[in-house]
């Protein structure tokens, strides 16, 4: 495939992400308006951070006039899961890939963009990443802008419906390989079950969602790797039939 084909494939797979981002960042824009920041500031936050939970938390800390250190630590904890994702993604990159591609790809390691880029077949082309980022991030920024300049451009029903777009995508990534691979199916099922327990069980529910993701990922992927180490031919990583 040529660069342009990778770019196109990325734009295609990034489209549902952009759509979902539009809905989520719209609510961020509305929150920003309530917190009293300007449209420019909200857009700047979205364009430089591109992370939902981190931005929502950051906004409430700003409103509370929290210390800079507090903001840094909170971002670190909430976004630490990206470190795991980047580690996994690093194995999808050609060892000879130049640094500037790595710097640019890093900008777009979000839950969703990671999800589609890590599940491409073979090595990851940076241009595929740029395609996904190129349509997803504008969706994120535009949604923020629309949310802050007007809380009611999109009817509540449409926002509600679009809110499942990102989850629908996650499901489209994890379910097809679960059909073919029993270990993956077991991981998906136990992850959902434990996530459910951690969300509602007393004490466990006090753990923030960022930490919940880190703890359960380490636990489940760690146990699966010990019990079911994969042989060399499977090392190219997961793929989905898009």
């Amino acid at each position: 495939m040529k660069r342009r084909d990778y770019l196109k494939a990325g734009l295609r797979d990034g489209f549902p992400i952009g759509l979902g981002y539009l809905a989520v960042s719209f609510t961020f824009g509305i929150m920003g308006k309530n917190a009293g920041i300007s449209a420019w500031e909200a857009v700047l936050i979205s364009a430089t951070n591109v992370t939902s939970a981190g931005q929502f938390a950051g906004l409430s800390l700003m409103t509370a006039q929290a210390s800079y250190l507090e903001v840094a630590v909170t971002q670190f904890i909430i976004n630490l899961r990206y470190c795991l994702m980047s580690c996994a993604l690093s194995q999808k990159l050609d060892a000879k890939m130049p640094f500037f591609h790595r710097f640019l790809i890093s900008y777009g390691v979000t839950d969703e963009i990671f999800g589609v880029t890590v599940s491409t077949e073979g090595k990851l082309s940076p241009f595929y990443s740029y395609g996904v980022i190129g349509i997803a991030v504008p969706g994120w920024v535009l949604g923020t802008f629309l949310g802050i300049i007007s809380g009611n451009i999109l009817p509540a029903r449409v926002i509600s419906a679009l809110s499942v777009a990102l989850y629908g995508m996650f499901i489209a990534i994890i379910i097809p390989p679960s059909r073919d691979n029993k270990v993956v199916a077991g991981i998906v099922l136990s992850s959902m079950a434990l996530s459910f327990v951690f969300t509602f069980a007393p004490l466990l529910k006090e753990i923030s969602s960022g930490f919940r993701i880190i703890i359960l990922t380490l636990l489940i992927a760690g146990a699966a790797a010990a019990l079911f180490p994969i042989k060399d031919e499977a090392k190219e990583g997961p793929s989905y039939g898009a």
């Binding site: 797979d13 549902p16 759509l19 500031e41 936050i45 951070n49 981190g54 950051g58 700003m62 210390s67 903001v71 840094a72 971002q75 980047s86 580690c87 996994a88 690093s90 194995q91 990159l93 060892a95 640094f99 710097f103 790809i105 890093s106 900008y107 390691v109 999800g115 890590v118 449409v158 509600s160 419906a161 809110s163 499942v164 990102l166 989850y167 629908g168 996650f170 499901i171 990534i173 994890i174 379910i175 097809p176 679960s178 059909r179 991981i187 992850s191 959902m192 434990l194 996530s195 459910f196 969602s209 993701i213 359960l216 990922t217 992927a221 699966a224 790797a225 010990a226 180490p229 990583g237």
Partner: protein
């Protein structure tokens, strides 16, 4: 404002970017350990599954439309439909359920 909003934004963006960038620039070789390789292979499935459920159930206006959207996505994904169809048809089913039930 006592604190400067631009410094806030700079700190948020800087911390977040470093978390994403360091592994991608520091790990440039293929990892040889079978355990770590297997672990990293399994990471996305665990992470995405943990993030999806039960969060999807509280994403929409009510749990019923969310449950339908979840079920529709599961069925379509099981049939190996494309990313975008799974995502959009799931959104459409949420929309329809909320329209019909009037919630």
């Amino acid at each position: 404002m006592e604190h400067n909003i631009y410094i806030y934004i700079l700190i948020m963006a800087g911390v977040t970017y470093l978390i994403r960038m360091l592994p991608l620039t520091l790990i440039r070789k293929e990892i040889k350990s079978t355990y770590i390789k297997s672990f990293l292979y399994y990471v996305p499935y665990a992470t995405l599954a943990v993030m999806t459920f039960p969060a999807i159930l509280s994403a929409t206006a009510n749990i019923w439309s969310a449950a339908v959207g979840f079920a529709v996505a599961l069925i379509l994904a099981y049939q190996k439909k494309s990313l975008i169809s799974v995502s959009l048809i799931s959104c459409a089913s949420v929309f329809l359920v909320e329209l019909i039930t009037g919630i």
